[in-house]
Amino acid sequence: MGSRGIVAAAVYVPHRRLDRTTIAEVAGGGGGTGTRAVAGYDEDTTTMGVEAARAALRGRDVPVPRTLWFSTANPAYVDKTNATAIHAALRLERGSSAFDVNGSVRSVMGALCAALQGSGSHLVVSADLRAGLAGGSDEATFGDGAAALLVGDSDDASLLAEVIGEGTATEEFLDRWRTPGDVRSKVWEERFGETRYVPLGEAAWDDALKSAGLVADQVDRIAIAGTHGRAVGALAKKLGVGDRLVGADVAAGVGNLGAAQPVALLTAALEVAEPGQVVALVVLADGADVVLFRTTDAISSWTPSRPLADQAAGGAPIDYGTYLRWRGILPVEPPRRPEPARPSASAAGRSADWKFGFVGSSAADGAVHLPPQPGDTRAVPMADAKGTIATFTVDRLAYSPSPPVVFAIVDFDGGGRLPVELTDVDVDRVRIGARVELTFRKLFTADGIHNYFWKARLI
């Protein structure tokens, strides 16, 4: 019998970075040094999850996921499953399942453990969009982003790392909480949480080492995730982590990704790990979970499609006012245009391959049609196609959650043209002939319905 472990992994960090030093001037306090990642106005946890999952599945020969788990502390919908939109965007088979494990930061560990204990290939997607009120410490220390792991068996996939041990500890206590719908999380006095978390972490750590038959010194890289920064630091000290700790650059440039932080830090560890190393993921969230992995020889030939270090160092600035506006913390006058109508559920259902999967069609002569054209016989998946801007315009009149609308006529490599909105874009950088790729976004929300579709962004 083969082993089980990680087949692929990726982190998605959105394009914008808020300079923490700009916060205090407006908010009267708060902020700090470095930057935090900021989701676009057209992103939510579902769209960021799609981007992380696409990056994970790209660039490696991987099995098709049979089960999709989506975990976030900030779901775009409740009642309705969010994982199904990710399932559709990834064009997974109808016969495969998609589940939300949502609400708490810890829920992602439930998904990961279910994936590791299950059979077949499981895609674990996690995402978070974290704001907090202006000037607060959450605003400065957290970030927005997503991370995805593909879990499978060594029998049908080449593992990057195999799971070798697990430990867990659970305790009911109140450290951090948020009422559904609120932007602000509340926290109890930090010292209390610290006194709960550190022993829980130690207990889970010891259990995991025991189950793996290892001693602490044999662990090469240690990722500790948790929303309680002080407890994370105290546990790292207690465990004697030292320079084996992963993720300092993520905290400085991107921020704590909340529900996405565990998988993001594990991915960060794997991206720099060498073959045969033991990597520990430690998560402090309403208890403690520890998973130990040993990297395989395959990791030496793995080239992540979007390395976290590159993303952490990249991005473009956003001013604090725009950040507040995008998160709805600073309510601003909406454009004096009619708001868009809600998309039709039945129409969207009929065109799900196009709307969520960006699947066009082609005719007998091979011409690609976007959207698919009646009479065409062949479906043509185009979400991974790159294109060139044939012409573009800036529309200061059209309704947008964040005017102006930048719009381009894009000709895709391999055929097909689509007039499509650009995103993550600074107007003065758009040129005829510029290269673009596609990204899954939320065009607008109407009647509570998130209108998901694709936009293009400069490469």
């Binding site: 009619p338 039709s344 196009w354 315009t393 009149l397 947008s400 499509v420 998901y452």
Partner: protein, 400 residues
């Protein structure tokens, strides 16, 4: 199979047109009553004498009852038609063909739009339930993409092209200033227009059609009956319509410097009318200047000048009121305003005035004595996906 047209078989014998304006004090019914009343009067008939009605409105309401109610028509067939911004022209086309078929002796085409009740600036399409993937760009932004594409293809510096576009707007304001029914009756210099801020691409609000309420109407009969109603009818030489299949949006070969639907439509209209050189044969043209780059490209698509030369011809004044071929002598959509369903018939109203020498003296075209044909061009949609209408009318009939 073939597009044969109805050259000289139908005549326009009476017309009416309201002022186009922000009619805060007039509703759709008021506008319909006003435009049709003028048409009945000029024709010398009553509503009961007209056998059938076609009502064009893009978003004014549903069904023929929209006209039957305010006019209190008794037992008349009324059909509501819609073909985007070419709606008014479509109403005329239906009425003319109905008369040509022999089904009716006298038919009326009415176009109306009450756009200023929406509470928002500009034109706003009503929402059709959809999958939400359709672009939500404004028409201004869609047409704005023509300008840089044209500049690129013909090597015109963007500054120069902007001046050309401003000249188009300035010319139409000049003409509108001589039109008591126009929405904007004030001249605007090229310099004033160039100083306006961009709102969509390189277009300012002065590159866009005026948004106005209004109505216009025409009464048609078989050509042989025309002189029962007027001494100077307009004979219908051609009515052509092309509905695009949207291929420009998906075809990488489309370059935004031409509107293929209009080229096809114009060719068909010229064939119906027997016109070989529109630049020489036409006395005037009313074209769909929804945005200034549209008028620029239309000059080439309608065959008024060679490809790549319209910008020079415009600068040389070829399409001015006193130019070689006056275009939009009434001020066009730019100055007259654009009540969607009414615009096609408003264009025809200017042909009606000009060819019959009834335009105000300060905008009457001098050449109508030598040239007695007028063209109206009306489009709906956007670059890459549009409907196009072209009509040609004249004061003499080959069958008379």
């Amino acid at each position: 199979m073939g597009s044969h047209g109805i050259k000289d078989r139908v005549a326009i014998v009476g017309m009416g047109c309201t002022r186009f304006a922000e009619h805060w004090d007039k509703g759709l019914d008021d506008l319909l009553v006003e435009a049709t009343a003028e048409a009945f009067t000029t024709t010398g008939v009553t509503k009961d004498d007209v056998d059938a009605y076609w009502l064009g409105t893009a978003q004014g309401g549903m069904s023929g009852m929209l006209l039957a109610k305010p006019l209190q028509l008794e037992g008349k067939p009324v059909t509501r038609v819609e073909n985007m911004c070419a709606t008014g022209s479509e109403a005329l086309r239906q009425a003319a063909y109905a008369v040509a078929s022999g089904a009716y002796d006298l038919a009326m085409a009415v176009g109306v739009e009450k756009v200023k009740d929406s509470g928002y600036q500009g034109l706003n399409a009503f929402p059709v339930p959809s999958d939400g993937t359709q672009r939500t760009l404004t028409a201004a932004a869609m047409f704005s993409m023509v300008a840089p594409a044209y500049a690129e293809r013909y090597g015109v510096p963007m500054d120069e092209l902007k001046a050309v576009l401003a000249r188009i707007a300035s010319k139409n304001h000049h003409n509108g200033a001589r039109n008591p029914r126009a929405q904007f009756q004030r001249e605007m210099s090229v310099e004033q227009i160039l100083a306006m801020p961009d709102v969509a691409g390189c277009l300012s609000v002065f590159d866009c059609a005026g948004v106005a309420d209004g109505a216009a109407a025409a009464i048609v009969c078989r050509a042989e009956d025309a002189h029962r109603y007027t001494d100077s009818p307009l004979y219908v030489k051609a009515l052509s319509l092309v509905a695009g299949n949207g291929s420009g949006l998906t075809d990488p070969a489309y370059d935004y410097t031409t509107f293929p639907e209009i080229v096809r439509c114009a060719e068909d209209a010229y064939a119906q009318a027997g016109i070989t050189d529109p630049r020489v044969e036409l006395a005037m043209a009313e074209v769909h200047d929804c945005f200034t780059p549209t008028e620029l490209v239309l000059m080439e698509d309608l065959g008024f000048c060679d490809r790549g030369t319209a910008w020079k011809e415009i600068q040389a004044g070829a399409f001015d009121l006193t130019g070689d071929l006056p275009v939009n002598p009434d001020g066009g959509l730019k100055s007259f305003g654009h009540p969607v369903g009414a615009s096609g018939l408003r264009m025809m109203f200017e042909a009606w005035l000009q060819l019959r020498n009834e335009a105000p003296a300060d905008r009457q075209i001098a050449t109508t004595a030598d040239r007695n044909l007028a063209l109206t061009h009306n489009l709906g949609g956007y670059p890459g996906e549009m409907v196009s209408f072209v009509s040609i009318v004249g004061t003499s009939s080959s069958l008379a």
